[in-house]
Amino acid sequence: MRVRDRTIGVKFWLLWLCWPGSALAHASDQGIVLLLPTGAYISAGVATVVATVLALFVLPERAVRSLFAWRPINPLRLENVQIVTSLLSFVLMGFLVWLGMTGPRDPLSSLMTLGFWTLGWVLVVSLSGLIGNPWAWINPWTGLYRVLGPAPVARLPNLGWWPAIAMMLGFAAFLLADIAPSDPTRLARAVGIYWLVTFAGLLIFGPEWLRRCELGHAILGAYSRLAVFGRAGVGVPGWQIAGRSWGIGAGLFALVLLGAGSFDGINETFWWLARIGVNPLEFPGRSAVVAQNLIGLAAAVLLLIVSFALTLRLGLMLAPSSRGLAQIFGPLALSLLPIALAYHMAHYLTSFLVEIQYVLGALNDPLARGADLLGLAPFRVTTGFFNQIASMRAIWLSQAGLVVLGHVWSVLLAHRMALDLFDGHRRAGLATLPLSLFMIAYTFLGLWLLAAPRGA
């Protein structure tokens, strides 16, 4: 095979400029982004986080404590309604699986693909961090389970967070390294099998199975801790994390979320492609980088965990405490959740702007047989907003704003957590100083990822 001919098609590469590229979940409008003064924007963003860190040394302790104070509200008891919505969700999932198996083959016409990736992974996960955990309402198991009402036949051993951690790594591997994660049939099969396994676990072990071994519950549960509204109270984002003790498992899960999310950005950059010997202008396709992406994912998560632990260790050296690394690891790792959620939202914003149009198109014609249920025909998706500097600047600054806000919030939340772990405001500030520096560096990484040229 002659290599030189093989690459003629690469001339089309430039279209990367205006389309969310790989899978359904990435965007690259980099041509215009490269023309924006992103260096100045990044400096401003990092400076904002630095200023937040410095402000903590000036702010009184009670200000930080009262920031994360919460007010109780009367919890609504809506279990019966949730049974109905969960049953509806089960029916909807069945329809989507059927659609994935037998309906349109084009992922952008398939509500299976769009429902799972665009509405589920991008939208619902993002919203859970704002409005709370919707999983009790929309998971496709509990309604059916409660209607059937069986008693558990076995007791689930206490596995802690390990099943969730393992499943999150598996899910990230599917997202990053599967050859066709958006193929409707492939996805329908995966969803169908996952539903069956989970329901079997639920029948055998009871609801404890969902709490420990169901990834949707784990992800949405973690991010919804950042929501304003909780089950019994209301407060600023993070109030549901502050003032509680967290184990190492919960902390590791948060770090896996952050590490996988970061690598999802890193693996597209020119920088990463150069590391693995791929010409960024001639990306050979996902099948050529399966092993590299798996190794990169594992390395990114491991590197994050190790560097985070070292950061905490350094903090303990600066401000010795009666608590050891094992005690402070969980709570302070949870304080990174705002960063992970903000990056999730920023990273997927551009692709979401395109894919949500396809969702409308697919709702208009779910079987892709020419229906016009919503009266939208002829339905034409546009990516024109990626072609204008004004709209691209607005999009980029929205992404960067989210990233900076996430880091600012993590700095504040970490300090609030530290107030319970270290004696006194000053010691808490000192102990989290290395962590604050870590977060400042991570701000740079997050903003750089948005600005860096991408090629995969």
Binding site: T7, G31, L34, P104, P284, G285, S287, G370, T382
Partner: protein, 426 residues
């Protein structure tokens, strides 16, 4: 599960609508046949995701429009076309899988639509093994080079070798004979370097300097001083996210006294010509496969093609003037589908057993007149090399629009045959 559900948005079998058209046309008997005939199933190997997705979207829109036209006019041999689109992820391995699905799972008569060359290379062997006629719309020289097989053809779009070669006479005659080439330092850029250097030398010109830019580069100021002072023409084929930066920095380097500048529109396909940094391109020249902007001498064919696909006079979507199409390439899908129709009708194609007859019928094609079926321009199909040859366009940027200044002859694009697929067994 029924086969009929394995369709997609592009399934444009419009029985009733077609009936309305056909009842008024002298094709009623054909329609009667269509009622009893299964549709022609065409597997559309589409770059829905991956690096080819922007092209995939416009290839999809063009395919929809072409299928609607053909079906509204009575289909192929009275049978409607049904498109089965599969996403290949712009990945060669996945591409081969998709071709396999077309042949064995979806019972497709033919496959079509692949664009990126590495996917063509990955998929063509599968098409050959499965004896599935495979019509690529890729521009690659892979078909004409003889590297593929009897079942793989490129009848709807010209290849890059012929495009580059055809530029040399105009460049030498009108812009200058002393050329400096700036290209990305990998195979794609090397092809331009090799094809154009040979072609300009044949015109009595010379390339003074080849400036190869590393693919990871995102700033170019340090390369411009390498352009020799006596350069009359700068030939550029930069691609990638940094191309706007490249143009902007080149503009800043030259200022108002620039040499003639010639590029391939591939650098800016689907990019708004009024994008920031592109002001500098005013007065420069581009190869275009098909003029993006409606020209003063616009043909009725171009007009009808634009209307069918939903593209305005600026080459953008009628629903969003900022959404610029891949106009220089997407006509290839339209024309390829019409070739498939013509081939099937010429061979009286009835089903997969007639695939070899279909290939032979297309191999027998020669002149393809400019028409509603071939709106890009007249073409000449070479049955031996399975590659079509056709006119190319050179446009000049004037006030942010590309204005056609030259149309090549088909002869300008031709080169000696490098293969003869007709000698291969089916």
């Amino acid at each position: 599960m029924t086969q009929s559900f394995k369709t997609n948005r592009r399934t444009l079998i419009k029985g009733a609508a077609a009936g309305g058209v056909l009842a008024a046309a002298p094709l009623v008997s054909r329609f009667a046949q269509a009622q009893s005939s299964a549709p022609i199933r065409i597997g559309f190997q589409q770059h829905v995701t991956g690096i080819g997705a922007a092209y995939g979207r416009w290839y999809g829109r063009t395919t929809d429009a072409a299928v609607k036209k053909i079906n509204d006019e009575g289909g192929i041999n009275g049978r409607m076309i049904e498109i089965i689109a599969e996403d290949d992820g712009t990945d060669p391995k996945r591409g081969a899988e998709v071709v396999g699905k077309f042949a064995s799972q979806h019972d497709c008569d033919v496959a079509f639509g692949t664009l990126f060359s590495h996917v063509v290379y990955g998929s063509a062997p599968a098409a050959g093994e499965l004896k599935l006629p495979y019509f690529v719309v890729s521009e690659g020289h892979h078909v004409a080079s003889g590297a593929l097989n009897r079942y793989t053809m490129q009848p709807g779009i010209t290849d890059v070798k012929s495009q580059v070669q055809a530029m040399a006479p105009y460049v030498a005659e009108n812009l200058g004979k002393k050329v400096t080439m700036i290209f990305p330092d990998f195979a794609f850029g090397h092809d331009h370097r090799d094809y154009f250097t040979a072609a300009i030398e044949a015109q009595g010109g010379e390339v003074l300097e080849h400036i190869a830019i590393p693919p990871t580069e995102t700033s170019f100021t340090k390369y411009f001083p390498k352009i020799p002072r006596e350069t009359e023409v700068v030939y550029h084929v930069m691609v990638g996210p940094a191309v706007l930066t490249f143009v902007k920095e080149m503009g800043e380097f030259f200022g108002p006294s620039k040499p003639a500048i010639f590029g391939f529109i591939d650098s800016l396909e689907a990019v708004d010509m009024t994008s920031p940094g592109l002001e500098f391109l005013d007065g420069t020249y581009f190869w275009e496969g098909m003029p993006r902007y409606a020209q003063a001498d616009q043909t009725e064919y171009d007009k009808a093609f634009r209307a069918a696909v939903g593209v305005d006079d600026n080459g953008a979507s009628v629903s969003d003037p900022r959404d610029v199409s891949t106009y220089a390439h997407m006509f290839g899908c339209w024309e390829t589908l019409h070739i498939i129709k013509a081939g099937m009708e010429a061979s009286d194609y009835a089903g997969p057993q007639d695939r070899a007859k279909l290939i032979e019928a297309i191999e027998a094609m020669t002149e393809l007149a400019e028409s509603f079926e071939h709106p890009q321009g007249p073409k000449l199909f070479n049955g031996k090399t399975h590659q079509v040859f056709g006119v190319q366009y050179i446009s000049k940027v004037e006030n942010g629009k590309l204005v056609k200044v030259h149309t090549t002859s088909i002869e300008d694009t031709q080169y000696p045959d490098e293969a003869d697929y007709t000698t291969m067994a089916f």
